[in-house]
Each structure stands twice: as C-alpha cells, then as structure tokens.
C-alpha cells in the first residue's frame, strides 16, 4: 500500500484566520444547512487581501472555499477586515457592531445579512475536543 510521507515545511506566514476558517468549514458539515436557511446568500470575507467565499445560498448545505464566488455573481455581502480583527471577531474579543463603528470592519452589500453574522462567527470558533 502506498505510504505517504509527511514533509515538514516551514509554515508560510500562517494566518490567525486559517484555523478559524478551517473550523468554520468543518462546522458546515453539521451546521451548514441550518446556517444556509438563515443567511440565504453568499458572504465573501476579504481578510488581509485574501478572499474567502462562504456560500450559504438557500437550500444548499453551505460551502467555504478560497477565492471569489464560483458562480461569478456579486456576493450578497462582502466583509473586509484585517487578519487580526477577524480573529478578534470570531473569538468574541470584538463584536461586529463595534468593529463596524470603529471602521475595523468594512461592509459592502446587504446590511440585513451583516446583522446575522454572529452565528457564522460562532461556528468558526475553536471547539474543545472530547
């Protein structure tokens, strides 16, 4: 049987957002449909220039991937913030409205969807492991 060997590499400027987005992706497996029912749209996160698309269109199970929305449509909501602020948002250090008022978070698109951001952020929080 083919055996795969792990090659250790230096972590290339690993971002604080990466594990959170990974956790979000994992959470979508169980919470994706419920989130899609609430959000019903496509949210794009622009974190320090990196673009991540969270596709929570109505009726889907939810998808998270790097880059612009696949369908090419304009996203319903685009959130632009720095890596550090994204981490703070997810961890609860900063709440979305504070961030918005302090201009740490830029919102483009549907304000209504931006109000419903919290469950998405919660889903990105690290979970304790049994």
């Amino acid at each position: 049987m083919a055996q795969l060997v792990r090659t250790p590499t230096a972590a290339a400027a690993a971002k604080a957002a990466a594990p959170l987005l990974q956790q979000l992706a994992k959470s979508l497996e169980s919470e994706g449909p419920a989130l899609a029912k609430r959000i019903k749209g496509v949210v794009v996160f622009k974190i320090d220039g990196e673009e991540w698309t969270l596709d929570l269109s109505e009726g889907t199970d939810g998808k998270l991937y790097k880059g612009a929305p696949e369908s090419g449509d304009k996203p319903d909501l685009t959130l632009t913030m720095s890596d550090q602020n994204f981490a703070q948002l997810v961890m609860g250090k900063l709440n979305p409205q504070q961030a918005f008022l302090m201009q740490k978070l830029k919102i483009n698109g549907s304000m209504a969807m931006a109000m419903k951001l919290q469950p998405i952020l919660d889903a990105a929080q690290p979970k304790s492991k049994l």
């Binding site: 795969l4 290339a12 400027a13 971002k15 604080a16 594990p19 979508l28 497996e29 918005f100 109000m115």
Partner: protein
C-alpha cells in the same frame, strides 16, 4: 461622553437652536437619561420653573407644556415626552387646565387671561380682562411678566381646549362640547397662533390618546380645529420661528439658581407652582418683540421647525415597530440615531454645505437602512420604506420641503439609485443599468475595436500569426483568431450575431482551445466531479488552497482517512519498536511513542494492536485526523474491537462527522454481547434525520438495563454531545466518572462538553483533574487554552497553547490557535516567533507559573 451625546442628540452646532428645540425631542430624552449635563439643559434648569418637562418640545416656550408635562409627570415619576406617558388622571387634568390659563393673553387685546376662578365669566363674556396675577405667577413681579409671558390660548378658546382634554379622559365622549367659535374670534387668531394650536394639540393628543393610536388622536385634533374654525389645510407646514442672539443672552442672564436635581424639580413642580421671579424679564421682552400684539407669521425665518406631525410620525415610526430580529444593538442604534439624524437633516438650513448634507445623508441612509433592515429584515424593503418616507415628505405642503435635498436623497434611495458601498452611500446612475447599450453603442462606433482585440490576442500567442504553429492546439487557436477578426466587423453586440458570423464563431469556438475544457466538463467525469467536490465541497477545505503552511505539509493528494507517516523516524528498523512505543506512551511522551509505533506498523502493517495504540496516541496528541486513519487500520483488522469503535466514535465527533460517529458507536453497542440483542431489535431509524435520536434512545434503554457500565455512559455522553444536548452529555459523563474516577480521558471529555456548552470555568476544573492524572496530556493542555480564550484571558490562553506545543510541536492547528490568541491579546511582537515556530522564545515570553 459628550461626543456620544452630540452624536445621538445633536450638538449645538447641528441646529441653530441650542439643541433643545422642538426639533430635538430626542435631545431632551438623552438629556434626561444621561443626566442632563448638556449646556442647554443647564440653562434650562437655571431658568426657574423649568422642570425636566422643559427639555421636551416645549423648551423654548415655558407655557402650556410645562404644566402639562408637570401634570403628567405628577405622581408617577419621570415622564419622557414622546414615549407615551400614562394617561392623565382627572386631578392632573384639572391642574393642567388651570395651568393653561396662567400667564397668557390674547394676541389682540394684549391682556392675560383671568384666573381659573373666572373661567365661566370668560366663557360667557368676551370682554378683555385686566391683568390679574394667578397662582402660577408670584404677584410682585407678575404684572409685566404676565403680560409678556407667552402664552396659553386666548380665553375664548379655553372651553374648546377643556373639552378637548376632557374628552381624552372620558373615552367615547363627544369631541367638542362647545360650539364652533364665532367667526370674528376665529379671525383674531393669527396664522402663527393657529399653527401653534395645531401643533401643540397634535402633540397633546398623541400623548393623551397614546393607547388609541395616532389616527384617533389626529381625528380629535381635527375636531378641535374645526370647532375653532381653523382649516388645517391652509396652514403652513412649518412655522418660521425666530431665533436671535438675544435668546442666548436671555438664557445666560437667567437667574442663577443652582440647577436642582431632576427629582427635586419634579417634586417642586408637582405642585404646579412654577416660580418665576424677575429673571426671565429680558427673555420675555425679546419674546414680546418677536411676537408683538399684532404678530404675523413670526419674524425672519432662520430656524425652521419641521412639520410637527411629520416629526411625530417619524418619531412614532421609529419607535413603534417591534424588532423581531435578535440584533438588538442595531435596533437601539437605529432607533436612537434615525430620529435625530432625520430631524436634524430637515432642521438644518437648506443653504448648508452640500458636503455636510452628504455626510448627514449618508448617516441617515445608513441609519435608515439599518433601521428598516432590522424592522423588516430584508434588503428590498429599504427601498419600499424610503419610498414611503419620500411620499410622506413630499406631501408636505411646503415647496421648500419638496425640493429639499433630503427629499431628493430619500427618493433616490427608494428608486435604488443609491447603494451602500464601502460604508458610504454611492450614487448609481440609472443609466448604469444600461451599460450594455452604451457598450454596444461604443462597439458600433468603433467596429475596429474587436478586431484590435483579436489582433492583440493573436499577437500574444507565440508564433500564431505565422504559418507554422508549434502545436495543433495553438494552430487551431490562431485560426480561430483569424476567423474572428474577419468576421468582426459584422459583430454588433446589441443586435446579436447574424447567422453566418454566429456559425463561424461557433465553429471556431468548438475547435479552439476552449473546447477541450468544455468537453471535459461535458463528459461528466465522475472522478473529476469527486475531485472537485472534495476540493470545493464542504468539509474538505483543508485539501483546497488553504495556504502554504497547513496543507503543504500533508504532501500532495493526502486523501482524508489515509495515514501519513513521519519522515525522519529514528525507530525505523528497531525490532523492539512496539514495546518501546508502549513504554513511551505510558510515560506520557506522546510524540516519541507515535514514532516508535509508526516504525512498528511500517514494518508490520497487519499489527492491529499497534495501529490501535497509534490511534490512541494521536487522539491524546490532539490529532483526530491521524487518529481516525490509524484506528481505521485497526478496525479493518478487527471490526468488533470495542475500544477501536469507541475511539472512532469520539474522534469522528470531534471532527463533526455525525454520521460516521453514530455508525461506529452503534457498531460498538452491537459488538457487546449484553446489548447486541437490543441493537438488533431496535432496527433502523425511520429516516436519516432521526438517526441520532433513534440511536440515543437505544443507548438509553441499554443504560437502564446496565447502569454500571461506565463505557456505555461514555458512549451515551458522546452521542448527546453530538446532538448538542450538552446537559444530558454532562450528566452521562458524570455517571461514568462515578464508576471510573481515574480515567483522565473521561475528565477531558467532561471538560470539553462543559466548554462547548459555554461553561468554560467549570471546564477548567475538569481539565485540571485530567492533567493531575496525566501531566503530559497534550489534548487537555490545548483544551485549557481554548477555554481561557473563551473566557477572554488571551495571554493565559497563549501560554497554555505554548505548553501544548512543547509536547507536540507538529500540531498545526494549535499554532493557529496560538496566533489567534496573540492577535486578540495584542501581543503582536510575538507573532514573529510564531511564524518561525520559535518555541524557546515563546516559552520564555509566556510562562506558566
């Protein structure tokens, strides 16, 4: 704090008034709530007799509204204008009515009204009365003041107002008991008076009839106006109100009584005894100037009041809709900001700076949008609501209002010409929608453009223009380009392609390079789709382009579920690897143990025990992915090994793979002789969505059958955790712990369940117990870090992560958590050390005492 006040209530700069005018009702509210440190409020307080009610719409005019506010404020406590104070009781109403006829005089005769005792005389007679001081005014300084003090309604109108108010208390009573005012008297009412009457009675009615709604209130007002022969239609929407520097002087000159506390004022005012010593004299003189005996529609207009009803409507609209959305912050913000923003925009002079208005409009739009979004919860309704607002505003009779920039702005909003972009409102011209037409037009004009583009394209492809293409594909591409340039002059985007060109293009497209992609797609290669799904579908993000650091380490194409061996393994070839691995594990040196066991399974891939142990090691090292991979290998060797099945259930739960977890736990149950019958009897769940509850019920029945089986309770706890029934999970783990108190992994499970349920403090205690039992339990260290982060103690959390990394430096996700904790704690200088994985520096900087 004052900036907050200014933001919400409007500072002195926003309105020409000192912020306490009728247009700034919310200023009053804020002042009342925030303790009234505003300059205006202090000035108001300094003016004797002005209670907190003076902060309301009546601030400029300490007349009927003061007593009314006082009356309404009477027994209850702080009444805040505009928020629907409770109904007046009779006593309060009477005192209010008395108060009306305090310091007032008719505009015509220039005399003040008679004291309450002479109401009847007034009612029946119309002769002007000499000035008589009333309880409301202290006699000595009264006479000049009484003359000048504005004002209640002219005495002839008293009965009308009486009836108006009384009808509020006797619901269902006829609106007006008095007959219509005789025309001569009605004519004596100036336009200003009429407007004032209308405005104030509207506000009064809204208060009085708060529980019967605005329409009813408006009806009452109409009745009153009709009885006074005031035709509301002919009244201007706004009363041009004068404001001069004299006012400010007068305010400042007001008697310097120390501003009493709000409560004290209420108490004092409760007796409806407004003391007015000589202070306001200059103030009244000014008032007299402005509103002389033959007062016309006020003096030069520099301050414009918004139409009273409009304001009331807006305010009510902002207040009334209940917010179903859970985002209460936004509603507060919108409710508090929408009104002053809107009011101020209308109240500010129209000659104001365009830029300033743009900013205000932007805020208003945002607020409105927020407000509307929250109340309606959908983007499309902003436009509907703006349209409604625009309609309301445009119905205001004043042409200035209609042409106002604010109104234009709102109507543009409603037509969708303005959108929110980059936290600003951006104008989108309607023509933008027809860009296609423009573009097409351009195309028509410059038919050469497409051919230019084609030529460029051709030029970019190396050697294509020439006759010797290096590959068939490029040749085909070149051909296509030629064809395209040839056919291009006929190309008109807006008109569609004529048949021949279309056919040419089609052919070119099919033969060109693009075809290969299209063909691939159309083939519907199953493998391809799977690959795509794996890359782009949920749950497999780590395999997609997550960035260099994390997945590159996995090596190319590491499918989930495949075990990944470490490269440099010192134990390779060691015959005693398994034993060494076991020893290392017992001693708690997990990473080394993993290496030793890896060596063993590389040499003996069929060694199920080694695989199982390897899986356990990885789980304790907080690597569920590898744990699952290893456990699956053990599982294939022995599908009924309960330890393997339980471990798989746990790891899949951690990975949030519900289906796999349930499957394995169920298999675990079936593999136990005591429960296999139960499992067989239970059968399958009626449908997939109920699978988890079905299995939980099965386990619970098993648990009732065998309450002393700790593993059963553990499995049940894990299932509950899967279903996010954290309370039940905690209970199950507690029961298991009673039976097996020294199981460190059990303490960790309890802690993790508590933490995922938000009980991070209790979780820490459980983790501590686990660490007491096994000091090098890396998973528990990581979990502690997570719990400290949940509690907001980011630096401590980082220290725990560093400790965990000291035990297992290969845990990439923990490096990520550490980075996150540092980002939240603000210790950005350590991020460089994180980048270089410099544990020594981090340990020095983040010690654990």
């Amino acid at each position: 704090m004052s900036s907050l006040r200014d933001l919400v209530a409007g500072s002195d700069m926003c309105t020409p008034s000192d912020g306490a005018g009728p247009s700034n009702a919310l200023g009053g509210l804020v002042n009342t709530l925030l303790g009234g440190a505003g300059k205006a409020q202090e000035q108001l307080r300094e003016l004797p007799g002005m209670g907190p009610g003076g902060a309301g719409p009546s601030s400029f005019v300490p007349t009927i509204h003061t007593p009314s506010e006082l009356a309404m404020a009477g027994p209850g406590g702080l009444q805040i204008p505009g928020l629907g104070p409770p109904r007046m009781d009779n006593a309060a109403a009477e005192s209010f009515l008395q108060g009306i006829h305090g310091p007032s005089y008719t505009p015509v005769a220039g005399v003040s009204a008679a004291p309450p005792a002479e109401w009847d005389a007034i009612f029946h007679g119309k002769e002007p009365r000499p000035v008589v001081p009333v309880p409301l005014m202290p006699p000595p300084a009264a006479p000049p003041l009484a003359e000048l003090m504005p004002r209640g309604p002219p005495p002839m109108l008293a009965p009308h107002f009486q009836a108006f108010v009384r009808s509020a208390l006797a619901p269902g009573a006829a609106a007006s008991a008095a007959g219509p005012l005789p025309p001569e008297l009605a004519a004596q009412l100036s336009v200003a008076d009429k407007v004032r009457i209308r405005d104030r009675s509207t506000i009064m009615a809204r208060h009085l009839y708060a529980d019967q709604g605005d329409k009813f209130a408006d009806m009452q007002v109409d009745h009153l106006l009709a009885s006074l022969r005031i035709d509301p239609r002919e009244l201007p929407a706004q009363l041009n109100h004068v404001h001069h520097a004299d006012w400010h002087d007068a305010w400042r000159a007001a008697a310097g009584a120390p501003p009493p506390s709000v409560a004290a004022e209420l108490a004092a005012a409760g007796g409806a005894a407004a003391q007015l010593p000589g202070g306001p004299a200059p103030w009244d003189a000014i008032w007299e100037q402005r509103h002389g005996p033959a007062a016309g529609p006020g003096g030069p207009a520099t301050l414009m009041r918004p139409p009273s009803t409009g304001w009331a409507t807006e305010f009510a609209a902002a207040q009334a809709p209940q917010q179903p959305a859970p985002a209460s912050w936004a509603t507060e913000f919108a409710a508090s900001a929408a009104v002053p923003a809107a009011a101020e925009t209308t109240a500010s002079t129209w000659a104001a700076d365009f830029k300033q208005e743009q900013d205000q409009s932007a805020t208003t739009a945002t607020d409105q949008q927020q407000g509307q979004q929250v109340t309606r919860g959908s983007a499309g309704d902003t436009r509907a609501t703006s349209a409604a607002l625009a309609a309301v505003l445009s119905q205001a009779s004043d042409p200035k209002m209609r042409n106002s920039k604010f109104l234009q702005f709102v109507s543009k909003m409603s037509k969708g010409e303005l959108i929110l972009e980059d936290n600003k409102v951006v104008e989108r011209r309607p023509e933008a929608a027809s860009w296609a037409a423009e573009f097409a037009g351009q195309q028509q004009g410059t038919a050469a453009a497409p051919s230019q583009w084609a030529a460029e394209f051709a030029g970019q492809r190396p050697g294509v223009a020439g006759p010797a293409p290096s590959s068939a594909a490029i040749g085909r591409g070149g051909e296509w380009v030629e064809e395209f340039s040839r056919g291009v002059s006929d190309l008109r985007l807006d008109e569609g392609l004529d048949a021949s060109t279309a056919a040419q293009l089609e052919a070119a497209w099919r033969d060109g390079e693009a075809s290969s992609w299209a063909q691939e797609f159309n083939k519907g290669d199953e493998q391809q789709f799977e690959e795509w799904e794996r890359m782009y579908g949920h749950g497999a993000v780590e395999d997609s382009v997550l960035g260099g650091g994390l997945t590159a380490a996995m090596g190319p194409g590491a499918a989930p579920g495949e075990y990944v061996f470490s490269e440099n393994n010192p134990f390779l070839g060691d015959l005693d690897a398994q034993q060494k691995g076991k020893d290392l594990f017992r001693r708690g040196i997990l990473s080394e143990a993993a290496l030793a066991l890896e060596a063993e399974v590389r040499a003996h891939p069929e060694n199920a025990e080694a695989w199982r142990l390897l899986g356990t090691v990885h789980a304790e090292n907080d690597d569920d992915r590898q744990a699952i991979a290893a456990m699956m290998r053990a599982h294939t060797a022995d599908p009924r090994d309960p330890e393997v099945l339980l471990a798989l259930g746990v790891s899949h739960t951690n990975e949030l793979s519900q289906w796999e977890a349930v499957k394995h736990l169920r298999s675990w149950l079936a593999a136990q002789p005591p429960y296999s019958a139960l499992d067989a009897a239970a059968g399958e769940a009626p449908d997939t969505s109920q699978r988890l509850t079905h299995v939980i019920r099965l386990f619970e029945s098993a648990a009732s059958q065998a309450p002393s089986d700790p593993e059963l309770h553990v499995a049940l706890g894990v299932l509950h955790h899967l279903g996010r029934q954290y309370g039940a999970a905690v209970a199950a783990f507690h029961r298991a712990l009673e039976l097996r108190p020294s199981d460190y992994s059990l303490w960790n499970k309890l802690g993790a369940t508590l933490a995922n349920n938000g009980r991070s403090g209790e979780a820490l205690a459980a983790y501590q117990k686990a660490l007491d039992l096994k000091p090098n339990y890396m998973r528990a260290w990581t979990n502690m870090g997570i719990s400290y982060s949940n509690l907001g103690e980011y630096i401590r959390s980082a220290a725990f992560y560093v400790r965990a990394l000291g035990l297992n430096a290969a845990a990439d996700h923990v490096w990520g958590y550490l980075r996150t904790a540092l980002a939240c704690s603000g210790k950005l200088e350590l991020l460089a050390a994180v980048d270089s994985k410099d544990l020594a520096t981090l340990q020095a900087a983040l010690p654990l005492e």
